[in-house]
Symmetry: C2
Subunit: 470 residues, 2 copies
């Protein structure tokens, strides 16, 4: 009855009675939230407690995020006696700040000391300096030392992600010895996936996957079965690199080392999944002109953050207007130019954004490097050129039919080709250049790009028209 | 020497001699690629083989992606005798197609039958119908059945992601029995993280993490230590849901069941990490107006795919032009309107895109649902209103100073407030409505949004000007 699943089951997937979508919904449902809010409204505290406790901690965290500030305060108050510390690391930072404000320092200290070291660091790192100090003083010394050590590593580094709880053995041990040790040891991590093999200087030299350990005979020596193609993660490594490492090599855990190569912790894949989501999310937000997701932020914070980016855009829009202003005499003579000019600018902006999006993402995933940069630049410019010609014909025809001027059609066509070539070149080279000088292309590339495509779009179209018609 | 890492090491991270960035680079480096291409140019085949074989399969796949079509053909030819099948599932789909074309059917069949079942399905599923049939006929029957069963599940479903190789035991077994079984069984998966517990009908009823199994005494009964809060994944479940499930509940593996609840396979976290990256990437691309990443696509495919999206944009740009055309008489009288009108449209577009980006992503991560939709809509509209007023003042001042007309400043200000309110409302409600009718908001929301902000932006500004000045 054990071993691999044997062949296709008698009733194959064709006869499945679970349809996609009819399956039990995953995660926190709107109806579960409504039920809890209903009980909360009537202050049926025991019922609220019972309903919340049925939820996985990750769903409890979602619940606190979902319900809004007023209900959140009441809910935390009701849950206070049974509050599960594991909820804290799952919360969005803004919401966590609110929840932490509701808890007393003593309550928070108890919660933090119950967490695994990586989660404890994660909760403490976002606090204000004062709150951090007050909290650290309130937690037991051994826990405090662990948290303080975690905080000594740079933000968003491997040192912040790792947990100190781990299993490490010398290469000379045999499997039986490991199993006996694990059966008797008290201070093991909740879950682990690899046994790390260390030398006399506490440096990791290999690892044994649990699935390999558990199926080896007791007499087998670790040295003989360990995987020595280990890539230890320096504690200072940026979390984005850690994400790349896990994704690229399909890791479930990796040892973390200090500057002397000594083992100081271990990173597990669940934390890395969060990092991968976070980094992709950051790219999405930055490309959309939002510094970071602000769904749970207050109105004031959201408005202020978005204002900054819009102000930059006002600046570029004014630059584009200045370009148009150069040709006011031409427009006065031929108002069709004002009618058509947004087409050239907008097509350039959209074509450039396509190129930019592919480039920004490919740089982030290391698919676009010095090796293939020139090939990609060539391809993008050619793509821009070909689509430029196609849209020149289309836009030119529209202009000709609309305003009955073949010359106007030719002018918009020529401007279109020129602007789409420039858009492609800008779309690929701006992110490459930004990455080379160490600026995240996702955050700055878009504003440079649309400035270029607007200015060139208006200038090419109106300038050419001025030459031809005046 | 075993157990958890004891306290902070004697030389803490402060004295680390590995600086961030000075660490060994991860993944395929440009210099490694250059070295291999250099050897390939001179047809030093043995050296090429040796250099490539030193690389992890994931890096070998990156190498094949990096080198471009001509070198790729030569490289596969050189590597043919030592080609590692594990490279295939790691390749980008376009590049994999090229590599598969270079290999003979017999070579490909051998490669596929050496892969784990999920990887084999992954390689076969993207082939054309003819190639698929030819390949399936060439691989041994038992392997073929497994692959065909995998292909019987919908694309991008859990059934396609899962591997059939797994470890399942009845609840009555004791730990010693499991260990003895694992030590003697031949057909185990390469790596596994959980032992799945099944009932007499082959339905999963619990799981035991390997880290728990290995530290339990031999006499312990599975029933007593198993985690019965198992959420089996229906084989038909969409991979995006699977990604959510793993991310939400920090899973490393999950059992997959057929329509009768019988265990048919297991999904491991490494495949889910790929899915999470893929789904986030898809959102990024779609928001940027690219159907999917086309870095490795040919010029023709890239140009064609992008053309479609640009054509839609040409349509919306023409609609905006038509709106401008309605006011050509007004513009003729006051050319300043043509100079300023892009500012109103562009600010609306950018503000709307900010809202849209946050909304699209929050819907994808299930942070925005029916529960908080109204609250978020209210907040977004308020944000739009506040920033609208601020930018009305700024743009109004610019217009006043530039053209010396207070009235013109008031007109642009009023149009700005109106358009930014509309932009916020459109930015939040378009994705919510699209999601409700089952359309991916990432793919369609952007084009709706900019149409709205352009049309309203031009209409409000020019229309108000026509009323005031004519």
């Amino acid at each position: 009855m054990a071993g691999s699943a044997e062949g296709p089951p008698s009733s194959g997937p064709a006869s499945a009675d679970i349809k996609p979508g009819s399956a039990e919904p995953i995660g926190l449902t709107d109806s579960a939230t409504r039920e809890i809010l209903h009980a909360l409204d009537r202050r049926q505290d025991t019922r609220v407690e019972a309903l919340v406790n049925k939820l996985h901690v990750a769903d409890q965290a979602d619940l606190l995020e979902m319900v809004g500030p007023e209900n959140r305060r009441v809910l935390v108050d009701v849950l206070r006696p049974v509050f599960n510390p594991e909820v804290l690391p799952e919360l969005d930072e803004t919401v966590r700040d609110e929840v932490i404000d509701i808890l007393s320092t003593a309550e928070l200290a108890t919660a933090v000391s119950e967490l695994e070291s990586d989660d404890a660091v994660h909760v403490v790192e976002d606090l204000s300096e004062d709150d951090k100090q007050a909290l650290l003083e309130a937690i037991p010394e051994t826990d405090r030392e662990v948290v303080e050590e975690g905080l000594s590593y740079p933000e968003r580094s491997a040192g912040r992600l790792m947990q100190r709880e781990l299993v490490a053995v010398p290469a000379s041990w045999h499997i039986g010895q490991i199993i006996d040790h694990l059966r008797s040891a008290a201070d093991l991590p909740d879950e682990f996936y690899d046994i790390i093999v260390i030398d006399a200087n506490h440096r990791p030299i290999g690892s044994v996957a649990l699935s390999k350990a558990i199926r080896s005979q007791r007499a087998v020596i670790v040295q003989d079965i360990m995987n020595s193609e280990l890539k230890p993660v320096p504690a200072e490594m940026d979390q984005e690199e850690v994400g790349y490492l896990f994704h690229q090599y399909d890791l479930v855990s990796a040892p973390v080392v200090d500057g002397n190569g000594r083992l100081v912790g271990v990173i597990t894949v669940d934390d890395v999944v969060d990092v991968i989501e976070e980094e992709a999310e950051e790219d999405i937000m930055r490309l959309g002109g939002v510094s970071e997701t602000d769904l749970h932020e207050s109105l004031v914070t959201t408005t202020r953050r978005r204002f900054v980016w819009l102000l930059v855009n006002l600046g570029t829009a004014i630059i584009a207007s200045v370009v148009i202003g150069l040709f006011d005499a031409t427009i006065e003579q031929m108002v069709a130019l004002a009618v058509l000019m947004p087409i050239v600018a907008s097509m350039g902006g959209n074509a450039g954004t396509q190129t930019l999006t592919v480039a920004v993402r490919a740089i982030a995933t290391k698919d676009l490097t010095a090796t293939n940069a020139m090939r990609v630049v060539n391809k993008e410019v050619l793509t821009g050129g070909v689509n430029g010609v196609l849209f020149a014909v289309l836009a030119g025809t529209v202009a000709y039919v609309w305003f009955g001027s073949l010359l106007l059609g030719l002018v918009i066509g020529a401007a279109m080709i020129f602007n789409m070539l420039v858009a492609a070149l800008a779309g690929i080279s701006i992110p490459l250049l930004l990455a080379r000088v160490g600026i995240d292309p996702a955050i700055a590339a878009g504003v440079f790009l649309t400035t270029v495509t607007d200015v060139i779009g208006f200038f090419a179209f109106l300038g050419l028209a001025a030459l031809v018609f005046l």
